[in-house]
Symmetry: C2
């Protein structure tokens, strides 16, 4: 769970406002513009849709892939499995390159798969929340450009947009899908997707959705489905905050805080799910419990200290690890002391539970 800024929460309780109200239209319009900045794209088309991040999989599967087309899924955990399930539900033929838990497919493995047949698309989970593994999107996109340039590069950025470096235009990404409730710092309920011009040309039924977004960006309301007005006010507030400092600085802050957290946990003698720092996310950390400590021991105790850490999610190791989020205002607003409180709460409670380190 990510903490939300007070101003974002205040925007959530905006009184009833029509989606074609003159007070809402420019807010939605500017939010669309600001998303281009977040994704570092000049001409990518942002979509802001009522839904979960999961809906982004459906948007990709139903609009970009036709039944029986081949898709290459790079799998670094639970979310790779689920994206593959979703694609198959819509009729895609999925080939997976699976890494061991805590690792990511090597560029050689990806290259070999990529040239084995003609893939309509390749999907990359930028950060798989279930393992805390970070994929090297830049290198993979580069590989695709070299060896299979017609393949669309699709990035599941639910757990990465806003906390990891991601450059849509420079790296040559075709789709990034994400959700509001992670590093974008907005309560859950928005599916956010950006599509390159190339991806837009593939969209089988793109007329209505693009018309809606273009209309709002041109500061004119239009009806298709009722947009979630309050969530879009909250998104606008958060995007204004995020873009008020250079993105480079934001990426750097997340890297520094991530290293600080990981160093501290390592000093406590704890082991991580990702096999090394290079394959580790900068917005979260997946940590194995030390021997003898159970989820039901640690999580409620830490919660009592006002710190929320999450249980395991990857089916094979679910009860053996926990997850710490460090993204958004917890990172960019150090006066909140979220990071220090989290490290302290973990340290103190592990000791109270009898854990001996060093």
């Amino acid at each position: 769970p990510v903490e939300f800024h007070e101003d974002v929460l205040l925007s959530m309780s905006t009184p009833a406002t029509s989606h074609v109200s003159p007070s809402f239209i420019p807010i939605f319009g500017e939010a669309i513009e600001l998303l281009r900045k977040i994704f570092l794209t000049a001409k990518g088309q942002p979509f802001v849709v009522s839904g979960s991040g999961t809906l982004g999989w459906d948007m990709v599967s139903s609009n970009l892939i036709e039944p029986n087309e081949d898709v290459l899924v790079l799998n670094t955990g639970y979310f790779g499995d689920s994206f593959a399930d979703c694609l198959e539900t819509y009729g895609a033929k999925v080939t997976q390159v699976k890494a061991d838990i805590g690792d990511r497919p090597t560029l050689e493995e990806i290259h070999n798969a990529l040239v084995s047949k003609r893939f309509k698309a390749i999907t990359i989970t930028h950060v798989d929340t279930s393992t805390g593994v970070l994929s090297d999107v830049k290198a993979i996109a580069n590989l695709v450009k070299q060896y299979s340039p017609e393949t669309l590069v699709i990035v599941d950025g639910v757990c990465s947009v806003g906390s990891e470096e991601i450059r849509v235009d420079e790296w040559g990404i075709d789709v990034v899908l994400t959700a509001s409730q992670k590093a974008l710092g907005v309560p859950p309920g928005l599916c956010i997707l950006i599509a390159s011009e190339r991806a837009m040309n593939v969209f089988s039924n793109r007329k209505t959705p693009i018309k809606i977004m273009n209309s709002y960006e041109g500061r004119k309301g239009m009806y298709f489905a009722t947009p979630p007005v309050q969530l879009i006010y909250a998104l606008h507030t958060s995007l204004k905050q995020i873009t008020s400092i250079p993105l480079e600085e934001r990426f750097q802050q997340h890297k520094e805080v991530s290293n600080r957290i990981k160093d501290s946990l390592e000093e406590l003698g704890l082991k991580f799910v990702p096999k090394n720092r290079e394959v580790s996310a900068n917005g979260m950390t997946a940590v194995y419990y030390p021997e003898g400590i159970k989820p039901t021991d640690l999580l409620p105790r830490v919660a009592e200290c006002g710190v929320v850490i999450a249980g395991g999610l990857h089916r094979k190791i679910a009860s053996r690890y926990f997850r710490v989020g460090h993204m958004g205002i917890s990172v960019t607003e150090p006066h909140r002391k979220h990071i220090e409180k989290t490290i302290e709460a973990l340290q103190e409670n592990l000791i109270q539970l009898g854990y001996k380190y060093k």
Copy 2:
């Protein structure tokens, strides 16, 4: 646009709360239980999903209908057209019974269509927001029971749930889909759907979603997609308010206020889109502008009086009529004087614009 209760808006700004937090789980669980009361069903399965009402069409089209199956769509306006489009996108073969603008298909027309072939489902727009026409769901469901009992009865209740009488079990309805932002009085962003046991048996891939809902109803968290926590808090608040008085009373209040509004507008000499009271919705009224008055004249003036009325939506007559909502707290909490203010604002501004009545 529907006004939201202050307590509902306050719930919208609930600070960051995990979807498996012990404080959220019972809220979601109770919201699911309360939905059964709203829909007057003992065993219907409620679904609360992040999305717009439009997503409900996708849920029906993708889960209940297989490609090439026949569906009968009763069309009373824009939303009938769009539901048909959605069904066809998923491969259904759609037969439509279309009424003239302001009217609804007769029971005889529906009967004739119903027995012409074997339909997997029939869809009814309970209230088509684009025309203000009310369908007689009870009579249609009864017709289906008599002449085509295997056909699933699907109700688009976006503009009716919470303002019109609707009895899932008693009338024999299989699906009602709706959204949060109309008479349920919650900001937009939730798609709410109820499915009968019979519909649940048809769901092609029902295991995951039903597990999630059952898990929360049993007061245990479970992960599929991140639920929109803040919107669900708001839904819970609103459902508690709605169910605090008998539903019968709520239906009656909406009928009385609707008649009062319609009587007042008739006294002003205005004409309605629906051809008579019998086919008119109780939660909204679609009204033709008097001759010589344009949307750009009336709407902004009324807005300046603090009253929001909506423009036309039905493509063929969009610029010739406006829509007044009268549902939710505007009806059930008369001390807010929303109804009086709306009638006054219309009357005063029409006169100022040179309209002469009687």
